[in-house]
Each structure stands twice: as C-alpha cells, then as structure tokens.
Amino acid sequence: MDPILTFVVILIGFYGLSTSTNIIKSVFCVTIIESGVILLFLNLGNLDGGSIPIVGEGITMIADPLPQALMITTIVIGSTVTALALMLCIKVFHHYGTVEWAEILRREEGK
C-alpha cells in the first residue's frame, strides 16, 4: 500500500471530524485517523520480501521491528481512547437524550 493512500485515509478522518454532527461519528473519525497513522508507520518500516522480525534459520531480510513495537502500543492506547469515548457517549445520551453536538448545546441553553 502506498504511503499516499494512508494520507488519504487520514484526510478522510479529518473531513469527517470537521463535518459530522454526531458524537459517535466523531469518535469513529478519530479512530479512522488513528488507523491511517498506524498504517503509515507500518508501511515505512516494511521491506519488500522481508519476513517478520523474529530470528530463525534461513532468514536474511527482516522488517524493521521498532515501528511494529511502537504501533502495537498505539493500537492499545487507541482502543482505550475509543472505549472511554464511547462510555462518555452513553453517559451523554443518558443525560441529554441525544448524541448530536448541536442538539446538546440547545438543550443545555434551554435548561
């Protein structure tokens, strides 16, 4: 996969963040950006024809192990962030009865 394509994924995420009016959609857009960034880093550490970075017999070309180690951390953090954000979504829905940003603002002023 071309690095340019991963940038396209990131841009799609930002397009979604700056247009979607729904909290859940915003959470997913952040996840999309995160996936794009992870794909970008894995791409750059990748090697054509290289194998996984575990030492064994007959292995001469391996991919750079550091991006993979870093990205697995990013994935873990990303899942935590998503879980927390979705939990807050549920709480917001319980308090306001809606997950639309604008609608929440309107109800807050109405109180």
């Binding site: 963040l17 700056s18 915003s26 995160e34 750059l44 308090h95």
Partner: protein, 538 residues
Amino acid sequence: MLFIPVYLIFIPVFTALIIYVFKSKYVNYLALVAQFAMTVLLIMYYNAYGDQPDATLFVFGDWDARVGISLYNDRLSLSFMFLTIFTWWMVLIYTFNFRETNEKNDNFLFFLMFLQGVFLGFLQSNDLFNLFVFLELTTILVTILIAFKKTGDAYRAGIYYELINVSGVLFFLIGIIILYNSFGTINVLAIQQLLEGLPDYVALRMAYIFLMIGASVKAALFPLYTWLPKAHGVAQSGISALLSGLVVKGGLYLFIRINDMFSPANYSYSDFFFVVGGITAGVGVMFALSQKDMKQILAYHTVSQVGIMMMGLSSLPTNDLFYGGLYHVFNHALFKSLLFLGAGVIIQAYRTKKVSDIRGVMKTMPVVSVLMIVGMLSITGAPLFNGFISKTIIKYGIYDQEWKYWILFFVNIGTATSFIKMSQIFFGPKPMTILLSETPQRVSMIIIAFSCVILGTFYIPISTGFFGVDLSYVSPFGLLPLYDYIATLTIGFAFYKLVIEKDVKPVRMIREFKVSFETANYLMVIYVVALVTYFIIL
C-alpha cells in the same frame, strides 16, 4: 541516585494501585506518605545532579540510547518537577476530604495519584514515542477527572476534551514517524546531534510543524483553545486548579522541548508564535470579560495568560524575554490554582457559580477573601506580587517594538477589568444561609498565597537558582511601577463601570458566541494550513 527518576514515576502509580485495591479510609493517608517520600527524593536528586545535566541520562535495561527507553533531566524539567509535586501537594490537601460529589469510595485519589506519575514521566522522558504515550495517558486520565462530577455538561466537556486532544496528539505521532523515517532514531538528544549541519529539508520542517500542532493543542493556543473553558469550567475546583495550574503547561513544556530539539536547524518561529500568543491573550481576555460564571471567567483567563506566556516563550532562549515567559509559567501556576481553590470554597458555600449572585464574601469568609485578593493582585500584576515580576520582564523584552507592547497593555487592562468585576463578590450584605468548609482547604490556599508573595519579593535568588538568569534589573519598589499599576486599575474600573456592568449588546454577543465541535476541528485544519504556509511556503 540515578534510579530516582524511575522511582518518581512509579511511586505515585503504585500508591494509586494500592489505594484502588484496598479502598479504605486509612489507606488514603498513604497518598500523603508517598507524596512526602517523592519530595525528599526529588530534593536529593536536585542536590546530586542539579548543576550537571549531562550525568542524568538514564537508559532502561542497558540498551543503546538510540533505541532504548531513556529519561533525561535538565534545569527546565527539574524546575517543572518541583512545580508538579508542589501543586499536587496542594491539591491533595485541598481535595482530601472535600469533593463535590457525594459518593464514598469514589476512586478519586487513584486517578489523581496516577496522573501525577504520568505527568512526571512526561516531563522526564527523553524519547519522542514515550512523550506521545505519556501525552495520551494524560489525556485519558484528565478526561476521567473532568467527567468526575457526573453531570451532563461534565460528560460533554470530557468527550470534547478527549476527542480534540487525541486528534491533536495524533499529529504529534505523524511528526514522530517522519523523524524516525529520516534519522532512524526517536531519541531527543540523538536527533538534536544529528540535526547539526544538515541542509534545510522540507520533510524535517513538516515534522516540526506536526510536532508543534500537538504542542499547540495541548497548550490551548488561539484557534485550538475551545476545549479549555469548557473543561476547566465544569470540573471540580481542585481539578480545575490542577488543570489550569499545571496540565496546560504540559503543552508549553512540549513547545520548549521541541524548539530545543530543533535548535540546530534555526527555524525562525519567533514572530509566528508571538502573534499566535498575542491573539490567544486578546481573545481569552475578551471572552473572560463577557462571562458571568465565576469558573468560566477563571478558565478564559487561563487562555489569556497562556497567550502571555507564549509571547515570552516564543523568543529565542538566549533572550531575557524567554525567561519572562518561563517565570510566568510558574507564577501563573501558583496564582491561578489559588484563585480556583478559593472559587471552589466560595461556590461550595453559596451553591451558585454566578458572580452576580455571590455577595458579602468579606463578611462570611474573611480568610478566603484575603487569599483571593492576593491571587487577584498577582494576576493583575501588582508590585510585590509574583505576576508583576514576570510581566515586567516581558514588558522590558518587547519595549522597542510598539505593537507588541500595545497588545500586552490591552491584555493587562482587560485582566484588571475582569477582576474588578469579580471582586464585587467581596462587598455587599451578608447572606443568610451559607455552608462553611473545613480547615485543610484554607491551609493549602495559605501556603500558595505565601509562595505568591515570596516569588514576588525574593525573585532574584530563585531565578538564579532555577534558571540561571540574573533578574536584578527588575525592581518592584519605587513609584513608577505603582503609578503604572494604579493607572491600569483606573482605566479598568472606568471600563467596567461604562461597558461591562451595563452588559451592552456586544458583550452579550460575545457571551453567546459558541464554537461547535465541527468548527473546532475545522479551525485545527486551518491552523495546520497556517503553519505550513508560514514555515514551508514563505
């Protein structure tokens, strides 16, 4: 001795875990013990390594420093660590028996102590990816602490904070990726050495821009500040003090660190970030003037003060102006946490946040009002208080450029007006029913107020000890600064009587102006475009 940074990260984290597991009233006191142990360890560490930062590089597991996880401390991070531990002491004492929720076993101390460990790790870490991990952890923990009040607006502010900060920090990650791809290492010191003598590559400029966006979002600079008033306004007062006093400074710390790392590349960032800082200061003060909620006013003042710090920090570290900004970081941490803690006590007693409904604080709570007045004098820059020193250094630094001076002048007048408006709470008749709080809150506030005065009077030895700069040319004694201050107050008072108190239409319009989440993200994209335009195209 070399292991002390590791202890400083893991003592609060393990204390938090023990508190979480045992959940007893007596185990909670362990937090204070741990805090004491950390203070002792940090002082020992400072005595051993305070003047030889080269010896503090600590690499985990004897790896090569270019690939391993490493910690590094210099004067800057050590002074930030002292500030961190001091602020946490105060917030711990303040919130120990005083929460704004009514639940027993609320895990509050768990998150508070955990955040301290994470923040200390963030200050010391020497590789960029660890910085990213600690930034994300800070975001997650702060989100939980903001939403801790369990009201609708707290949840909404929490999710707003989390999403904006996470997307900003992801930009930071893209910057790290570009740097790793260019140098094959993410160690800050190694990158600084490798940058020496390199030609000016566009990729490196891109990396600088992306790292800066992460720092700007965290520091709440102009188009990206929208999360701050929401988050700091709705959190519990102890947490607001912590966030405004310290966690926002994390972004500024990152800003200094990144500029330090890229110092061999000689990017001319001063003008851009000075303008951004000036706009931040102006916009923050403008919104603060229009607000009616006491904590919203304080939160918007954090935005404007961050702008003033940015005006100082944007200059090169060889200037005195830089140290004005740095000194303001510390002063603001003190007086803003004092104001938030005092506001918390007053709000608790009067059960309302509206400035216009709170009257007669001087009669009901004389000690708290005196402490609040110390905070207000500091933030408006009265001589003998700490805000005066740093604002004067910044004023000296920009004396020769008139437009820069005028920005600072108008921000000062706005600040004075806004605190004259807030000081109306002290006057008026005594209300019938109020709920008085306990002693520990006052203890922490008194300590902070004393340190405000001490930093304002004994600034010469303190600044030489921590930053190694000589500030003896700033003098709070004498009539000129006093006249200056009184003139500012007079103009501010006139402005308050003529415009703010009457609540004229423009003020109402500013108050009702709201930025939605989509627009905030759109503004972030615009900020990226502005940075790219300034650093690459121009």
